[in-house]
């Protein structure tokens, strides 16, 4: 974290749906290679913000730069430099593991040869080579999510956005999912992750907590615990969301 190169720069981001303000003047920066946790209760505006950063939704106002591109006008350039995995499962059920990888790799303009080689490496690493030609619909949820994450970073993006990636998964699978996240971060991919699980918040380098469309706190997990005089992130979260 010594370089402190800013990769996501958000200043006064506002998103309104009619008169409802989903994101109320958000300002934050995300540094290259860090794991940035984006916390908040349901309906706090996390998904809205992540969709704007991914170019899926147009912001109402603010200055937003993602991987050096403007979120108002350069969404297609942003899309070329990011990966995305949503809480709604995103691989094609009726395609096999290898076909899904090849499809998404192809869309990002990877060559056939590159896709083939990287698929081998990936499946070996996941110890999943035997399942290569299995349909996604036949896989257990935990495996689907690990694969979806691997596909999201298959084209080696600068940033990967994860929107509640571990929903409905058992603790052991969640642990191994986070091993994949750490590995991606070590390889220089910035990870932007939303979650409900406070133990996962502890794994992040820095955490922001959103309440009612605003960022209520932003610091390292240690810093937050000290500031709020709490033993763990769970307490921090409860104190922040109840006080405001």
């Amino acid at each position: 974290m010594n370089t402190r190169e800013v990769i996501i720069d958000v200043e006064n981001l506002v998103k309104k749906f009619g008169s409802f303000v989903a994101n109320d003047h958000l300002t934050f920066q995300v540094y290259k290679g860090e794991i940035f946790g984006f916390l908040g209760a349901n309906g706090a505006g996390k998904t809205t913000a992540i969709r704007i950063l991914c170019g899926l939704s147009t912001p109402t106002a603010g200055k937003i730069w993602v991987a050096g591109f403007d979120a108002f006008h350069q969404t297609e350039q942003i899309k070329r430099n990011i990966g995305y995995m949503s809480q709604r499962f995103s691989l094609y059920d009726d395609l096999t593991v290898a076909e899904n990888i090849a499809f998404y790799g192809g869309i990002y303009g990877m060559s056939r040869k590159e896709i083939k080689e990287k698929t081998e490496v990936l499946l070996n690493k996941l110890e999943f080579s035997s399942q290569k030609n299995k349909l996604i619909s036949d896989l257990p949820l935990g495996w689907k999510q690990k694969l979806a994450f691997s596909v999201a970073i298959f084209h080696n993006p600068k940033i990967v956005f994860l929107d509640e990636p571990t929903g409905g998964v058992d603790p052991i699978t969640r642990r191994s999912f986070w091993d994949l996240i750490y590995e991606a971060a070590e390889n220089g991919i910035t990870v932007f992750v939303t979650t409900h699980y406070m133990d996962e918040a502890e794994y992040c380098n820095r955490v922001s907590i959103m309440v009612d469309g605003k960022i209520a706190a932003l610091d390292t997990p240690e810093g937050l615990k000290n500031a709020w005089n709490a033993n763990n992130m769970d307490e921090v979260f409860l104190k922040i969301t109840r006080k405001l």
Binding site: C54, G55, L56, S57, T58, T75, E76, K79, R80, I82, Y84, S86, R88, F89, S90, L91, Y92, D93, D94, L95, E99, A102, F103, Y104, G106, I107, Y108, G109
Partner: protein, 373 residues
């Protein structure tokens, strides 16, 4: 270009893996052609004719015998009362009743005229109208022969001076309804395949949530939409070929015109249908919505298209609506090409109307489909 190939590859794989859709794609043309062409026939046959003969004379038997063996009628002759006969009409056992009253022959020879009555169940107006006219024609014919015999005039001389009309039916000399129906059925086939398959496809990705993942990639909008259209264009053309082949082998439907002209028209028409399907799926969020709206358009356009009833006898407002009805244009072109051997020049106006409609719908669909909200 490579992106388009990648999308096409994915779409075809998904289509061929769909265990419900795939059989329909192959079976639909065959079933539609057989059942619809054989069963949904426009020919009038098998009318149930009840002859109530209360006269039981030579003349009445002579009349009755003219109806037996007619391909139009299933004839039953009885002496029941008028009341019983009406009962038969009511219970649907008879479509037409011919009453021959007692003393008919006596009246005919004594007074020079006799009266018979035809009663028709006109719930099906077409059966009633055509049946009645065949019955009265048959009786008039019989009457004329009777007069000739009675006057002892040699057969031919009396008739020679009558004005007679002969007729020829062009393009469908034997008035075979199959020749008329097959191009219509093929149109419906292509419409159903194109509209529903393309309509469901995109909205299904919305329902599953995979569209989000697609929208967050740098995929080109036109490549994605083309990838959604081309597979169904191919499938629809394949089904058209299969249906036509089946029609040729089974019913020997005429294919007078140039087959390439037909395919050109089919491609123009499919552009319209597929774009409409795509447009519906961009404005809908569930497959139910697409099904319902697509069904609405299909039924309205189909009823007005001239498949079952001639468009020429529709009221003016309906004919005006038909100017933008793609099914009507394509069906007319199909009949012209297949039955009359019309060339590209003859169907040029239909071609331009279809292309124009297709381009408008396609542009609207592309404009409506947004990668960001």
């Amino acid at each position: 270009m490579r992106m388009l190939l990648i999308i096409l590859q994915k779409e075809f794989k998904q289509i061929f893996r769909n265990k419900v859709m795939l059989p329909i794609i192959f079976v639909m043309p065959i079933v539609q052609m057989t059942i619809l062409v054989y069963a949904a026939t426009m020919e009038i046959k098998n009318i149930d004719l009840l002859i109530v003969d209360q006269d039981l004379s030579a003349t009445s038997r002579g009349i009755s015998s003219h109806f037996q063996g007619s391909p139009f009628f299933n004839t039953e002759i009885s002496q029941m009362s008028a009341k019983d006969a009406y009962g038969k009409l009511e219970s649907d056992e008879a479509d037409l009743i011919l009453f021959i009253p007692a003393n008919m022959e006596h009246d005919l020879y004594r007074n020079g005229n006799a009266v018979m009555q035809i009663t028709a169940n006109a719930i099906n107006g077409m059966v009633a109208g055509i049946g009645t006219s065949i019955v009265s024609q048959t009786i008039m014919q019989y009457n004329r022969n009777l007069v000739l015999n009675y006057l002892k005039v040699p057969d031919t001389r009396g008739i020679q001076h009558q004005i007679s009309t002969t007729y020829r039916y062009w393009y469908n000399p034997y008035l075979d309804s199959k020749s008329f129906m097959v191009p219509g059925i093929l149109t419906i086939l292509v419409t159903a395949i194109g509209l529903f398959l393309s309509g469901f496809n995109l909205v299904r990705e919305k329902e599953l949530g995979t569209i989000e993942q697609i929208n967050v990639t740098p995929i080109k909008k036109y490549a994605f939409l083309a990838g959604k259209l081309i597979p169904f264009m191919v499938i629809a053309l394949f089904d058209l070929t299969l249906g036509l082949l089946f029609g040729k082998l089974l019913f020997d439907v005429p294919i007078v015109g140039n087959i390439l002209v037909m395919y050109t028209m089919a491609i123009a028409y499919l552009l319209v249908v597929l774009s409409l399907g795509l447009l519906l799926s961009t404005i809908s969020s569930t497959q139910q919505q697409v099904l319902f709206t697509a069904f609405f358009f299909m039924i309205v356009f189909m009823l007005m298209s001239g498949l079952f009833t001639p468009t020429e006898s529709m009221p003016n407002w309906a004919q005006d609506v038909n100017k933008i009805n793609p099914i009507a244009h394509f069906m007319r072109a199909m009949r012209m090409i297949l039955l009359k051997g019309s060339t590209m020049n003859d169907v040029l106006s239909e071609f331009f109307i279809l292309m124009g409609t297709g381009i408008v719908l396609m542009s609207t669909a592309i404009w409506r489909y947004k990668k960001a909200s």
